[in-house]
């Protein structure tokens, strides 16, 4: 690709046309096809074209013609379209002297992407005007742009802003009435505080040092009482190595009815201990190799020595059973207070270290309800996962990962993200004046409205119909039908403004809406930047050997 941005045959055409106008003799002498060679020059020639792009008499400097009958200077880069519409079409600062040399061939063309000199900014100047901004709700006006930008932002807010959600569940025991898949799905839908998401990597992405892709939770609840037990996201306990410990018992007490019986937590401890012990498989005490200088050997080994192999080795699993029994005895003394640390003691080492690295202010990954309860005390209701009947138990390990809504809806950070067009309503006052008061009132009432909100308003004092709230108009065309019914089809003219959009974004609580908004803009920019970069790469790949 040539820096002028013209394809080769077109360049030849321009030169030929140029010669025809400036020096018919040279043009007549020129062999076909015209081969051109470009050399660097600071000299240039301005060429004028009419609005059809045809060349007009060029403002050729006289010295140029006099210089040589072989060499002509052409700045193909500058063409004029019409009088007022000047546009630059090629690299002007590397303006080349175009020398007609019958024998030489084209210099290698360069990538068109480098010819950004032909670039004329042709973009709008969009504005955002915030109307309302809360942690989980935002309303703003996006103006001076078009629907494609508004829609891109909306789509990104929904589908591409990363959050954290449970993605993999490992069931150890589930005697509840819900099957594993059902429960796993419900777990996936629990909103988790996702401020940490931007420091995480997705499972298929490259890891940098200090980055993690998974946050682990465990859930271990058994119903020991006669009445059914609610299992909620409060029971989801973040793994000590990854994240924080859950809300304190004090907070749970404030919650009133939903405080877990201590037995449930104690059972959790028992199970955890058992899980720790069962990690080892069928190793026997024969595998224990005593120290050479040590006289004490396992009894089985001593017996085998005596009896020549007829003694059965004591399986380590049997020892484990003993150990478990001991543990259970101990556990009767363990209270749930011992399990759940104080509210002030919320962060455990790994996260802490990561957070320090990443800048400190990051919120740990916990279910949103747990975070909210910490903030607001007992007024927050937890998300009920399932109910357990007597002696039913659920024990599982859940792994949360970073993801985006495009992959699965559980990662969508917003409940709603919508934009509406603004209605441009103009009333034909002349026609309106022909209506009676009743008709005007009828007309206003024909627009679907609520008691407090109507796009149209009739003011009895001035006898005028006005549009106090064009935003409340739902583009349902009811008023147009009414106007036709009244025999006044041109009474109102309603258009959608194509450059203004009212956005309403409602977060799910996993990320502040401010963050979602900022991230969506950054993600969009990132996408375009990537494409720009990759286009360059492609051009280099295709034309790299030919770059001048």
């Amino acid at each position: 690709m040539h820096p002028s941005g013209y394809p080769r045959e077109h360049r030849a055409k321009i030169i030929a046309q140029f010669l025809q106008v400036t020096c018919p003799v040279a043009a007549a002498l020129a062999p076909r096809p015209i081969a051109l060679h470009w050399v660097t020059s600071t000299e240039a020639l301005q060429m004028d074209t009419d609005e059809h792009g045809r060349l007009q008499q060029p403002s050729l400097p006289p010295a140029c013609i006099a210089a040589s009958n072989v060499q002509y200077w052409a700045r193909i880069g500058t063409l004029r379209y019409g009088a007022n519409n000047v546009r630059r079409l090629a690299l002007t600062h590397t303006t080349r002297r175009c020398a007609y040399e019958g024998s030489s061939l084209w210099k290698a063309p360069t990538s068109p992407c480098r010819a950004m000199d032909t670039y004329r900014p042709n973009h709008r100047h969009p504005k955002i005007t915030i109307r309302k901004l809360e942690d989980d709700y935002a309303e703003f006006i996006l103006s001076d742009t078009d629907a494609s930008v508004a829609n891109a932002l909306r789509r990104i807010m929904i589908a591409e802003v990363p959050t954290i959600a449970i993605d993999l569940v490992d069931f150890e025991n589930n005697t509840s009435v819900l099957n594993d898949e059902f429960l796993a799905h419900r777990l996936g839908l629990i909103p988790l505080v996702s401020d940490f998401a931007k420091y995480m990597v997705r499972p298929f992405e490259d890891f940098a040092e200090g980055q993690c892709s998974e946050v682990e939770f465990s859930l271990n609840v058994k119903c020991t009482e006669g009445r059914s037990l609610d299992v909620t996201d409060l029971d989801l306990i973040p793994d000590a190595n990854h994240s924080v410990v859950p809300v304190t018992q004090a907070l749970m007490k404030q919650q009133g009815g939903s405080v877990k019986p201590a037995a449930a937590a104690a059972a959790a401890a028992a199970a955890a201990a058992a899980a720790a012990a069962t990690g080892v498989g069928g190793a026997t005490d024969l595998d224990l190799i005593p120290d050479a200088n040590h006289s004490v050997v396992p009894v089985t080994q001593a017996l085998m020595k005596q009896q020549g192999g007829s003694a059965k080795p004591v399986a380590q699993q049997q020892q484990q059973q003993l150990y478990r029994q001991e543990q259970q005895q101990v556990q009767e003394d363990v209270t749930d207070l011992d399990l759940i640390p104080d509210a002030n003691h919320s962060v455990v080492p790994v996260t802490q270290a990561l957070m320090k690295q990443q800048g400190g202010s990051v919120k740990p990954v916990v279910p949103v309800t747990q975070a909210l309860m910490k903030q607001q005390g007992g007024s927050v209701k937890p998300v009920v996962l399932l109910k357990l009947g007597r002696n039913q138990e659920v024990k599982l390990r859940a792994i949360a990962r970073k993801g985006i809504g495009k992959d699965h809806a559980k990662w969508i950070p917003v409940a709603t993200a919508v934009f509406q067009y603004v209605a441009d309503i103009s009333i034909n006052q002349a026609l309106m004046d022909e209506l009676t008061e009743e008709q005007k009132q009828d007309f206003v009432n024909s627009n679907p409205h609520t008691a407090t909100r109507n796009a149209f308003k009739y003011d009895p004092a001035t006898r005028q119909v006005t549009v106090p709230e064009p935003e409340a108009y739902a583009f349902d065309e009811e008023v147009l039908k009414k106007a036709a019914e009244l025999g006044k089809p041109g009474l109102v003219d309603i258009k959608q403004r194509q450059d203004t959009f009212i956005f309403r974004v409602e977060g799910t609580g996993v990320l502040p809406v401010k963050e979602i908004l900022w991230q969506s803009i950054e993600i969009l920019d990132g996408k375009l930047a990537t494409i720009q970069e990759k286009i360059q790469e492609w051009e280099t790949k295709m034309h790299g050997d030919m770059v001048m």
């Binding site: 546009r87 992407c113 000199d117 298929f204 800048g359 401010k514 900022w518």
Partner: protein, 159 residues
């Protein structure tokens, strides 16, 4: 069955390029970009921006198959620009527009400062500078366009 892997929508297939450009062999000044792992979000945005370019005769995008995570933008231009140029300009315009949007938002809702992000930004800037070093033309042009400098350097100085 024929369900693609979940990650296939986010990971570039081995040996494939994120962006490809193919020139149309039958029509002058026409070609299409194949952009992988992108969808309507970017497709419609680019198409719309291309439509606002006078040199663009045709611009459209399509997603050939819903299970293939790729998008195709077809561009035909007048002689004033190559399709590749039109694309480069459209992307430049869109990015300029987004940076204005950012500035507008920043004025009302400042982006919370984030040391990690700043670090990333610095890395990105360094990368950009490197690229600019390799290709001064491109870097300068991104820096800003000066209509007054039209024709410079050189211009008609010699005459």
């Amino acid at each position: 069955m024929n369900q693609p892997d979940r990650y296939s929508r986010f990971v570039l297939p081995e040996g494939k390029d994120k962006v490809e450009f193919h020139t149309d062999t039958k029509i002058k000044n026409a070609g299409h970009y194949v952009i992988r792992l992108e969808d309507h979000t970017v497709g419609n945005l680019i198409r719309q921006q291309l439509h606002s370019d006078e040199a663009v005769v045709f611009a459209g995008y399509r997603i050939p198959h819903p299970l293939d995570p790729l998008m195709v933008v077809r561009i035909q231009t007048t002689d004033a620009k190559m399709p590749q140029e039109a694309m480069a300009h459209a992307l430049n315009d869109l990015r300029a527009e987004i940076s204005e949007l950012k500035a507008s938002l920043q004025a009302q809702v400042p982006r919370p400062e984030d040391p990690a992000q700043q670090q990333q930004q610095q890395q990105y800037m360094a990368q950009q500078q490197q690229q600019a070093g390799m290709d001064p033309t491109y870097g300068q042009q991104q820096g800003g366009f000066n209509p007054g400098g039209y024709g410079a350097p050189g211009g008609y100085g010699g005459y």
